[in-house]
């Protein structure tokens, strides 16, 4: 029976980390069969392309852990993006400096972006509206307002520095010659430009820092512990003295904060504010959270798992493009991975229990 026991241990080891293993396998697969897949440039592209999903999914993780769901985050991206862009453009036209215009736009978007979260939280916590409905209603309202603000037309003409931030990298390195921070070196020869190594996009830095902070909050603080408790049993949490209503409101505000941040990064990357931005990413975000190990019934899930889930999708998406495979296969693949993830999460605890 030695073999059986070891086999079981191996299976459990794999099942417990299957998402990480799957991600690694994906990367290896595409590196072998793709063109230049495993290159610094491409890997950073993947991170950039996954920005929106990473942010949305992180915020969504908090909500899903409490047993709820936030459907409004997709359209919140457009909502805050439009506010950000509009403020930037308006201030710029009024003669403000680029620095003022850009920071005001970002600040406005992040602050106003908390409002829908507050409303969601109030609806769910105080008025006991089911999260599905409350956030569904909010998505419509957010979208409507977004379109009103931008008048149905993408907002253009943003300050030029937006592009340099959004497309900028933390470090620029010319092997042997230049090592620069944040500023792309100017006046480079054509050869030098080709050899220039750009490391870590600014946008990714911001994303990583914010996600890192909130991952810490969820995993190690009282706030995070209470979030899990509410997801596990709202009654238990309430009777233990936790102010569940207030906590839920904060959780939904976290979710909409991340959505507004996603909107801001969208503006930085695409130098425009569009109302429908990000709407297609909502389901990717939820899928990422579930693949990452969370249950839609609440009580489980981690930010790390969510990040891996989001990367699984991002790696797959870029990989398919790299191989020239039509993107509709992406949907089929993600659909299957999603179902597989849930099945593993169901049978894994039973494997452990039998031990």
């Amino acid at each position: 029976m030695m073999d059986n026991k070891n086999l079981r241990k191996i299976l459990i080891g794999i099942a417990g980390r299957w998402t990480l293993i799957f991600l690694a396998l994906e990367i290896i697969f595409f590196s072998i069969f793709g063109i230049n897949y495993f290159s610094l440039k491409n890997l950073q592209n993947i991170l950039l392309a996954s920005t929106t999903v990473l942010l949305l999914a992180t915020g969504e993780t908090f909500v899903i852990v409490t047993g709820g769901i936030d459907l409004s985050v997709g359209f919140m991206v457009g909502f805050s993006g439009v506010i950000c862009a509009k403020v930037m453009v308006t201030l710029q036209a009024a003669g403000a400096s680029q620095a003022v215009a850009i920071s005001s736009g970002i600040l406005a978007a992040l602050l106003l972006g908390l409002l829908p979260g507050l409303v969601n939280g109030l609806l769910v916590a105080k008025l006991r509206v089911p999260p599905f409905i409350a956030t569904f209603g909010m998505l419509g309202i957010a979208y409507g307002f977004a379109e009103i603000i931008c008048n149905n037309v993408p907002i253009m003409g943003l300050p030029t520095s937006v592009g340099s931030i959004g497309h900028g990298y933390l470090i620029y390195w010319l092997p042997g010659k230049i090592f620069a921070f944040l500023q792309k070196p100017e006046n480079l020869t054509r050869l030098e430009l080709q050899n220039l190594v750009s490391i870590i996009p600014n946008v990714t830095v911001i994303t990583a820092i914010v996600i890192g902070i909130f991952a810490f909050i969820l995993a190690r603080t009282k706030f995070g512990q209470h979030t899990y408790a509410i997801g596990g049993s709202m009654d238990a949490a309430e009777r233990a003295g936790i102010n569940v209503k207030r906590h839920l409101i904060k959780v939904y505000m976290i979710s909409s904060f991340f959505a507004s941040l996603a909107g801001v990064t969208y503006v930085l990357r695409f130098i425009t504010g569009r109302a429908p931005a990000g709407s297609a990413r909502l389901l990717d975000a939820v899928v990422a959270v579930v693949i990452g190990g969370a249950s839609l019934y609440g009580g489980t899930g981690t930010i790390l798992g969510t990040v891996i889930g989001a990367l699984i999708i991002g790696v797959l998406e870029i990989g398919l493009v790299n191989l020239g495979i039509p993107t509709y296969n992406l949907y089929i693949a993600v659909g299957c991975i999603l179902i597989f993830a849930v099945l593993v999460d169901q049978f894994f605890p039973e494997l452990v229990r039998k031990e």
């Binding site: 569904f136 998505l139 309202i141 979208y143 149905n152 039509p326 509709y328 949907y331 089929i332 999603l338």
Partner: protein, 353 residues
């Protein structure tokens, strides 16, 4: 019970219908040409897709589940039946045959996603949200793959005739005729042609009446409510819950398939928009507005119909008033939340009765 209580209770239970009537009156006053046979026919025609999707979704939601895949199942079936019709037509088969073959095979194929959903949910215990979300993606991918992003054209022309047909026509010149569109040559006559009740609407109405009957009067319907209300009770009463739920999800995708085939008739092509489908969310909204609870155990086809008409009237009315279409998102968002709040407040009043 006091008269005031009775009145409030009545309003609470029928608020959607009352709101619909209110909206109809409002738009008739504020909009031009809103109140007329032509516009009402337009509204009905425009909501046909949503009516079908929402009806299927009603069964699922009453059983306590949810089906997110319907939008893309519809697209998948739309594309599939169109392809069959096109290819058979090109191969020289009579139009009637191509059309019937395309429709029936499309609908049959459309039952498969529902079956898979049901099995995933009942046998493999995948939460409905996830299972149907996965199917949403798979159906989307398959449909897209089949049509490569391009609409399927060159369908048998008779298909369009059916899609555009009305039950009765009235022309001052030629009088009243059933099903046969009178042939008119003069522009004035064509403009004055009164078209009464689009054919698709009639077919859908028949379908809805049948399923509403099943839901409210037959054992199948009763069991669906029971499962949604309290699964344990249903199990102990001897209901074969897994099998029943599979049937429920098959019904949902059956309706989605019908919607897909209907689209072929309406548009005379097979089309699939691959990036987003907001259909499923609107269908769910309609069901909830119509009185269902997402926890299950409540709802009705009639309520869903009112929910759909509400959304459709809102769309149409806003358009007739010249307001940009995104206001409807705000409006529907608010109505949805109000719907739930009312359903929460009023059980207490009803309880006291």
């Amino acid at each position: 019970m006091t008269k005031k209580r009775k009145a409030l209770s009545f309003i609470g239970r029928n608020w959607a219908l009352l709101f619909l009537i209110l909206m109809l009156m409002l738009f008739s006053i504020l909009g031009k040409n809103f109140f007329g046979l032509r516009n009402f026919s337009n509204i009905l025609l425009a909501v046909t897709t949503l009516l079908l999707l929402a009806s299927g979704e009603t069964f699922v939601i009453i059983s306590g589940g949810i089906d997110l895949s319907i939008g893309f199942v519809m697209g998948f079936v739309c594309v599939t039946s169109a392809i069959i019709m096109r290819d058979l037509h090109a191969a020289g088969f009579p139009q009637a045959v191509s059309i019937m073959a395309g429709s029936s095979i499309g609908i049959l194929l459309g039952l498969i996603p529902g079956f898979i959903n049901g099995v995933l949910i009942t046998k493999l215990r995948v939460p409905p949200f996830i299972a149907t979300l996965g199917m949403w993606g798979i159906a989307n991918g398959l449909a897209w793959r089949l049509c490569e992003g391009f609409p399927i054209a060159f369908l048998p022309p008779k298909a369009r005739d059916i899609g555009m047909a009305y039950i009765a026509y009235y022309s001052p010149k030629k009088g009243f005729s059933l099903f046969d569109r009178p042939v008119l040559t003069e522009r004035a006559d064509i403009l004055n042609l009164m078209k009464i009740i689009p054919l698709p609407v009639l077919l859908i109405a028949i379908l809805l009446v049948i399923f509403a009957f099943i839901l409210s009067k037959r054992k199948f319907g009763q069991h669906t409510y029971a499962i949604g209300g309290k699964v344990d009770a249903a199990i102990r009463a001897g209901v074969n819950v897994p099998w029943h739920l599979i049937k429920v999800y098959v019904i949902s995708s059956f309706f989605a398939a019908c919607a897909g085939v209907l689209l072929v008739f309406k548009l005379n092509m097979g089309i699939h928009t691959q990036y987003t489908s907001s259909y499923e969310l609107f269908a769910i909204a309609a069901v909830v507005i119509g009185g269902a609870s997402l926890m299950g155990g409540k709802g009705s086809i009639w309520g869903t119909v009112i929910g759909v008409l509400l959304i459709g009237t809102l769309n149409n009315g806003l358009m007739m008033m010249g307001l940009p279409i995104f206001y409807r998102y705000i409006a529907i968002g608010c109505i949805l939340i109000v719907a739930v709040l009312i359903d929460q407040l009023f059980p207490e009043l009803v309880y006291k009765e």
